[in-house]
Symmetry: C2
């Protein structure tokens, strides 16, 4: 007998999709070269600007987030340009690979798993670059693989003082906490549909500053489908250089309307509450977190070590088999060593209450010592009932 | 008062989407790194192989068709390689632009609007290439912009004799008529979801031969998100290098099941019948076709000149305003000079009957001489009732 009837996806994307957003994909197709579609795209871009707190140009690429990252690299830099990547995990490594793929001269600041980028280290590297060879600095807002939130504001400050382009992968970070694109002076910000937008994967939304647009004008790296310059030119008319994923665009409209109604502050607060609840519950259950620093704790996902003697994969398997709850594995060298609890996008407090209760049962059944049922749940209850 | 309640999209993609396919996008998201998703992808690839009549590897890229075209160019060739593009319209030009973007040495065979590629001309170019510098030949199965169907089988024969890779953009052609990937020896075949698959845009399905896979192993052109090599490696395990568009994948499963049930022969016959019906009706109404050659007539779309003294754009506008029917414009130098009637994908004979009747009214109202209502419709009726 199957023990559950519904699935609960607690991974850092794709997140569950609200019915309203899911069904929006089923609307009749329209011509992507028609007036009504252009209007839809221009309205959508204006709403995305509000969410991103920016006046910068918005382009929507029909690709997953990585396509947006590639568009930033191939779109704003030129042969032989030097760039700095500050990497704190697997997605930081993706910036490095991408920049190398396009033949850029890459300097790397790398951090141990669970650590955030140290703005003063970035400052030090940039201070040494007196002839301004470094044309761009790349980092993650939120590093999904290690559940670390970087201090985008501080990083932006030190980079701004140098003058390099500030390129932020905000794919899993955007909407989970504050991101002030204009106030912080971010040049290229990449976001992805399957994260806190609450959409299926397939769209990358990129915000591009005037300074980055200028760089895009002269960039000589090879690009076609993901050409930022072509996308910017077309976006001004509510168009895309190539056929856009119309169904996903419909879904983005529906999701953005939901987010607008909820209000940015509420969206951030919702994510912060769930993050706190999951962290507190894990600690009550005696579980060690990969990133114990609450200040740099990811609002999107929490990475957890299993109790000694129990395999992380067994916990994930039992959560799935017994309760239909999908948790994420670690990536790369963390594969099998941790499990990750996603709490971004369309995740409700009730989901977290249930998930922690199921985790308590699972840990006991796997023989974890000292698991008192209800103690993790109480920690969640405490956070949820705090009035602040 | 609005004169209609429902829209009819008669453009060469996106095509209307069956409700069964549309709603498939609304299924619950699942982890794209999970066992069930891997199984879904492997099953889907096997079904796609049947439709493509091939044993070749199948990769599914989360991009529109152009992303698949780029993957073929950047994925199978190396710096300085010479390639031949046989171009009969706008999408032929896209092959040229793509190959030049990646620094390939491009020889071009170009044809006037409405003409198909002449296999003997390709043969002549390849015959001169005695030291086999030409590593690949690119062409369209169906050129959407000019409504021309190339003879893929004959082209493949002459290229096969030379030994270059055969790279076919079958985006708008696939499923509208026969395409025997293995029997004809096609190396890279690119298809796109918003055409006869009956899906929204956002997926490119690419079939890759062993020979092309070998070329992909050594290809040194820059690529990341659209890397064919990475996609091939992951596809063998039912995976993708980067997050796939899960909702569109669900829809592709639903569509492929519908197509399988219908049977390939019926799918081809359905497209051929509608093509014949539209062509015959246009001729009965005294309209000149861009491509008057029935042998090379596109099964996906028919390009039509307006009657003298009437603007193509006025016809399109009135069809939309009065009847909710969207026809396609011409592209590039044909913009405003022709209109195009799409008949690929989820288009029913009833749709064509209605569209021709509406076109009769529209042409009369715009002052076209000698339009006898019902005559175009009769031409459609004749084709639809032929027993063959």
């Amino acid at each position: 007998m199957k023990k559950y009837v519904s699935e609960l996806l607690l991974i850092p994307g794709p997140t569950p999709v609200p019915a309203e957003v899911a069904l929006a994909a089923a609307q009749n197709m329209m011509s992507h070269r028609s007036g009504p579609f252009k209007k839809l795209m221009l309205d959508l871009a204006a709403k995305l600007q509000k969410l991103l707190q920016t006046q910068n140009d918005i382009v929507i690429l029909s690709s997953s987030g990585t396509g947006g990252m590639e568009a930033a690299v191939s779109g704003c830099f030129s042969k032989g340009d030097k760039v700095l990547v500050a990497a704190v995990g697997n997605f930081g490594k993706r910036w490095i690979k991408l920049a190398k793929t396009f033949g850029l001269d890459v300097e790397v600041l790398e951090y141990a798993c669970g650590q955030a980028v140290d703005p003063s280290a970035v400052k030090a590297v940039l201070a040494k670059d007196q002839d301004k060879r470094i044309k761009g600095v790349f980092f993650q807002m939120n590093e999904t693989s290690t559940a670390v939130l970087n201090d985008v504001e501080e990083l932006a400050k030190v980079i701004k003082a140098h003058g390099a382009l500030i390129v932020v992968d905000a794919i899993s970070g955007f909407l989970a906490s504050e991101l002030k694109v204009d106030e912080w002076g971010l040049d290229v910000v990449v976001t992805g549909s399957q994260k806190a937008y609450m959409l299926p994967p397939g769209l990358a939304v990129v915000a591009v500053s005037e300074k980055a647009k200028k760089a895009a004008e002269t960039s000589d790296l090879p690009k076609f489908y993901l050409s930022l310059k072509a996308a910017l030119k077309q976006a001004a008319e509510g168009q895309t250089p190539y056929t856009p994923a119309v169904g996903l665009i419909y879904q983005l409209v529906a999701a953005v309307n939901m987010l607008e109604k909820e209000g940015l502050e509420s969206v951030f607060a919702r994510h912060e509450r769930l993050m706190k609840a999951v962290r507190s519950a894990c600690r009550q259950l005696g579980l060690r977190l990969l990133n114990e620093n609450d200040r740099t704790a990811s609002r999107a996902v929490t990475a957890v070590y299993p109790p000694e003697g129990i395999a992380a994969d067994d916990i994930r398997k039992k959560m799935k088999d017994d309760f239909g709850i999908t948790l994420a594995n670690g990536q790369d060298e963390l594969k099998g060593k941790i499990f990750r609890i996603g709490h971004l996008g369309y995740i409700d407090p009730k989901d977290v209450l249930a998930a922690i209760a199921c985790l308590e049962i699972t840990l006991s059944k796997l023989g974890a010592p000292g698991i008192q049922w209800g103690r993790g749940v109480q920690a969640v209850q405490d956070i949820l009932t705090q009035t602040k």
